[in-house]
């Protein structure tokens, strides 16, 4: 129980941090119209989806957050944010890299080297400490503007795209 509670709390913190991260990112207007809701996508395989449901009650940049569960790559074009759980391999980025950048999708992943391997923000919650890594190249290719404050906060900043 204690472990489940700890895990749930961790999920909540994670969801909260994801939400905070969205506040430091600017999408091109073409992909996210003013006051249009932000589409947050999770792969269907992402665990603790219930916890993610609560995110719909919150706002970021004065926009509603919509949670979208996808199970096909083709659905990625509907997303503004794609959270990739640590269980999902970083290869999915590589696999859908052009799709992701062309659709201006902010990718946030938990898996180690996520940013290094083409993800835009790598989020690791260790104890109470948050560790963020950012791939500015991918963000630039996805035409996403990452707040410098966030970049400054990042423990690692990568400036190359996905690793060939």
């Amino acid at each position: 129980m204690a472990e489940a509670s700890e895990r749930s709390e961790k999920e909540a913190r994670k969801i909260d941090h994801v939400l905070q991260l969205t506040k430091f990112v600017q999408w091109p207007a073409i992909s996210l119209a003013q006051l249009a809701p932000i589409e947050l996508c999770l792969f269907a395989t992402t665990p603790a989806q219930d916890a993610w449901q609560k995110i719909k009650l919150r706002k970021s940049q004065n926009r509603e957050i919509r949670l979208r569960i996808i199970n096909q790559d083709s659905q990625l074009s509907q997303c503004h944010i794609l959270f990739i759980h640590e269980r999902i391999p970083n290869s999915i980025i590589k696999k859908n890299y052009y799709l992701l950048v062309s659709n201006n999708i902010l990718t946030i992943g938990e898996k180690k080297n996520f940013a290094k391997e083409g993800g835009i923000i790598e989020l690791n919650l260790d104890q109470n400490k948050v560790d963020i890594k950012i791939n500015t190249q991918t963000a630039a290719e996805a035409k996403l503007n990452i707040n410098a404050n966030l970049t400054e906060l990042a423990s690692s900043v990568y400036s190359q795209g996905h690793i060939q």
Binding site: K23, N62, N128, V130, N149, L150, E152, L153
Partner: protein, 801 residues
């Protein structure tokens, strides 16, 4: 301020310049320091604001993700600014997220922002919101210490004080130097004025150094000097002219200062006052005044000095040798424009000669040049004075009026020189017979008056009058001829008779005429009855005026009969006054008065007119012969009336009678008044064919020499000669001689006053031509004459009516 006023202009200028500079610098420095402080704080605030905003901006992500390290790093970047002493970041719940403190910080950041101590006086502090997506997610607090600003302020203040002090010193030096620009020209101007005063030279001019206000002042001062110089020169010139004029003046000029000292006299003044060289002195000058004149002059002089009243007076000056000269002194006070007394200016003229002439003039004015006696004017003055004085005493004054008897005859017969000599001798005798204080005067041709003062009674006067008559009764030896002259004296007394000088003169005149009436060579005292006679005459005069207006005169005609054949040859017209109350008034009662008043001219004309008119009628009726004559008496006034001839001719024309029918009768005395004039008048009348007759012949003083020159036709023998025929053989001899003489001179003779047959016979025997008188006919009224003429025609031998 009083202290400042007591300073020299130089000191004042320095004080004002330094004070002004100091004040301006103080104000400027204070403003500068205030601005320095203000801008120091403002800069600090701006800097803080910029840094704070940067830090807040940079800290948003760190605050969201609670990256305290990053937050502290961000705050630590403020350490580069030494003024920042404390910085704190609080999260959206105002809980401290990170802080950064310096050593200078006395206390740290509290855990809760609410407990943060702010508004410390020495701090400059600001709060900055930390925003994310326009939402405040935290607060940054930064506090700075303003010590740097204050240090800088102190440094600047010190520097400003130094500048201020240096500037004051420079201002002092400059003011000391610059004040000379103003004071030097003023000092030079003052020096010029001193020179002018000391050298009394108004030609000196001030130098002009600059074209500024002081230069303008020098110009104005020089203009003023030019004016003063001109006026000074003009004054000197006037004074020079004054000196020259006074030196040439025939009048003595003197000038006296307000202290009463003589400051100037001209040469003429010295000559008049006989002061040659010594300095003139007012007191010494006045001491030469005649004692009688000194009080009046001193009084006038006192008024001049005290009241500044102009004075002028005639006084006598006594010279050292005792000679007296008359001078005329005039003086006036001199004043400045402001009315201040400058002194006195006067003149002295020597009027001795003028006085002498004046005395001569007075002598001429008051004395008779022929006899040296007082003249009428002086006599009247003395009479007036005497009358006034007599009223204050118990004494009387007698006024004697003397008129020489028959003086005119003497003058005419012996000549004016003899007449004048006689007057001089008479004057001498008169003067000899009165006392020294009595006045003898000659008031007219042969009229003298004597004023006897201090008379006790009429007896005194009578004695003097008798003495005078006696004195003049002695014959006068003039030009080898013995002449006897007498006087008639009228006497009046004051205050008994009158106290009015004119009345007294009139009284004496009346009394004198009474003396004449009483046979001359006597004296008469005035009495009231003389006045009564005068009043009577005045009444007659008034009534005569009415009589002329109301035609109260009537004519009577006394026929003239030719003695040889008792035929009428004419009538003498005689006027009567038919008075409405007094009845018929004879001519002797009114003709003399009419003669005196001049009324005789009108009465005479009336008589002449009516006589001619009525004679004309009688001749035309044939009652009077064609050659008969109406004789009309002419009075002296009528005879001398220049209109007489014209009046007569007019009447002849109007009455339509021939001039031959008119005979004008003139008395001997009328002719003898002025023989030559009378002959002229008579010849003029005669030239018109009018006959002339001498009336009352024998009573006057006609000389045969004159008689033969008179153009006379008829000589009427006065009744006084006829009256005593045949008793008075002398009268008979005179009458016969007159008749013979008249016939020799181709004159007819008419005898008047024939009353007896003896008289008529005598006259007839002596070939007297005509006669008139009661024996022949009384004076007749016109109707009576008419009747007489008719009867006469019928009874030509009738001898009386």
């Amino acid at each position: 301020m009083k202290l400042l006023h007591a300073q020299t202009i130089r000191t004042k200028l320095v004080i004002i310049a330094v004070t002004t500079s100091t004040l301006i610098l103080l104000i400027t420095t204070a403003a500068f320091l205030s601005l320095e402080l203000y801008f120091g704080h403002q800069d600090l605030n701006k800097k803080l604001s910029v840094i704070g905003q940067v830090i807040a901006e940079r800290s948003s992500a760190a605050l969201v993700f609670r990256d305290e390290t990053l937050l502290r790093n961000n705050l630590a970047s403020l350490n580069s600014d030494s003024s920042v002493i404390k910085s704190c970041i609080y999260d959206d719940e105002k809980v401290l997220a990170a802080s950064n403190l310096t050593q200078a910080s006395s206390n740290g950041c509290p855990q809760m922002m609410a407990t943060l101590k702010t508004n410390e006086s020495s701090y400059v502090e600001q709060y900055f919101p930390i925003k994310l997506n326009d939402q405040i997610i935290g607060t940054l607090y930064i506090a700075c210490y303003d010590g740097d600003i204050m240090n800088r302020f102190k440094q600047v203040s010190f520097f400003a004080a130094f500048i201020l002090f240096s500037t004051i010193i420079i201002a002092l030096l400059l003011a000391t130097r610059l004040q000379r620009i103003v004071t030097n020209p003023l000092r030079l101007l003052a020096s010029t004025i001193s020179d002018i005063i000391q050298r009394n030279d108004f030609s000196i001019r001030a130098n002009k150094h600059h074209d500024d206000e002081l230069g303008h002042l020098a110009d104005i001062f020089n203009e003023l000097l030019s004016k003063i110089e001109n006026e000074h020169n003009s004054l000197k010139s006037s004074e020079e002219k004054f000196r020259k004029l006074t030196s040439l003046s025939p009048v003595g000029i003197f000038q006296i200062n307000p202290e009463g000292e003589i400051t100037y006299v001209n040469q003429r003044w010295r000559e008049i006052n006989n002061i040659k060289h010594q300095d003139p002195d007012l007191q010494a000058w006045f001491s030469n005044l005649h004692p009688e004149d000194a009080p009046a002059l001193n009084k006038l002089w006192h008024r001049l000095v005290t009241e500044h009243e102009d004075m002028a007076n005639e006084v006598r000056l006594i010279a050292k040798n005792g000679s007296i000269s008359w001078v005329y002194i005039q003086a006036t006070s001199l004043h400045s424009k402001e009315g201040k007394l400058l002194g006195f200016l006067g003149s002295v003229s020597d009027i001795s000669e003028l006085k002498k002439a004046q005395i001569q003039m007075e002598n001429l004015a008051f004395y008779d040049p022929l006899t040296g006696l007082a003249n009428r004017r002086l006599f009247k003055n003395r009479l007036a004075k005497a009358v006034k004085s007599v009223q204050r005493s118990n004494k009387s004054i007698a006024l004697l009026f003397l008129d020489l008897d028959q003086f005119k005859r003497i003058n005419d017969t012996l000549g004016h020189d003899v007449g004048d000599s006689l007057l001089q001798e008479i004057a001498r005798r008169l003067d000899h017979n009165v006392r020294e204080n009595d006045t003898v005067s000659r008031i007219g041709g042969d009229e003298f008056t004597i004023l006897l003062t201090d008379v006790n009674n009429t007896k005194d006067v009578q004695i003097v009058a008798e003495k005078i008559l006696h004195s003049l009764s002695r014959p006068f030896m003039l030009n080898g001829q013995e002449i006897i002259s007498t006087v008639s004296i009228g006497i009046t007394m004051t205050p008994e008779d009158s106290i009015e000088p004119n009345t007294l003169m009139k009284n004496a005149d009346l009394a004198m005429y009474r003396a004449k009436e009483l046979g001359r060579n006597n004296f008469q005292f005035f009495s009231e009855d003389m006045n009564t006679a005068i009043l009577h005459n005045l009444e007659i005069e008034k009534e005569l005026n009415l009589a002329i207006k109301r035609n109260q005169f009537v004519l009577m005609y006394q026929p003239k009969i030719r003695i040889a054949d008792n035929k009428i040859t004419g009538v003498e017209s005689l006027v009567r006054w038919r008075h409405p109350e007094k009845g018929m008034i004879p001519p002797d009662d009114f003709i003399p008065i009419a003669e005196e008043t001049g009324q005789i001219i009108k009465i005479g004309a009336w008589v002449l007119e009516h006589s001619c008119h009525e004679m004309g009628s009688l001749i035309r009726e044939g009652l009077m012969p064609h050659d008969s004559k109406v004789a009309v008496n002419l009075s002296a006034k009528q005879f001398s009336d220049p209109d007489l001839l014209q009046t007569v001719l007019n009447i002849l024309v109007q009455s339509k009678i021939d001039p031959l029918n008119l005979e004008l009768e003139i008395t001997e005395s009328i002719i003898m008044d002025d023989v030559e004039a009378a002959i002229n008048i008579m010849e003029t009348i005669k030239s018109k064919g009018i006959h002339l007759a001498i009336d009352d012949f024998g009573t006057g003083y006609s000389s045969l020499a004159y008689l033969k020159r008179f153009p006379i036709d008829v000589l009427k023998v006065d009744r006084s000669f006829v009256k005593d025929i045949p008793e008075d053989k002398t009268d008979m001899a005179i009458t016969s001689a007159v008749i013979a003489m008249a016939h020799k001179l181709s004159m007819k003779v008419v005898a008047e006053g024939i009353e007896t047959k003896e008289q008529l016979d005598f006259l007839r025997e002596n070939n007297c031509d005509d006669g008139q008188g009661y024996l022949l006919s009384r004076p007749l009224t016109l109707p009576q004459l008419h009747h007489f003429l008719v009867s006469n025609h019928k009874q030509p031998d009738k001898k009386s009516p």
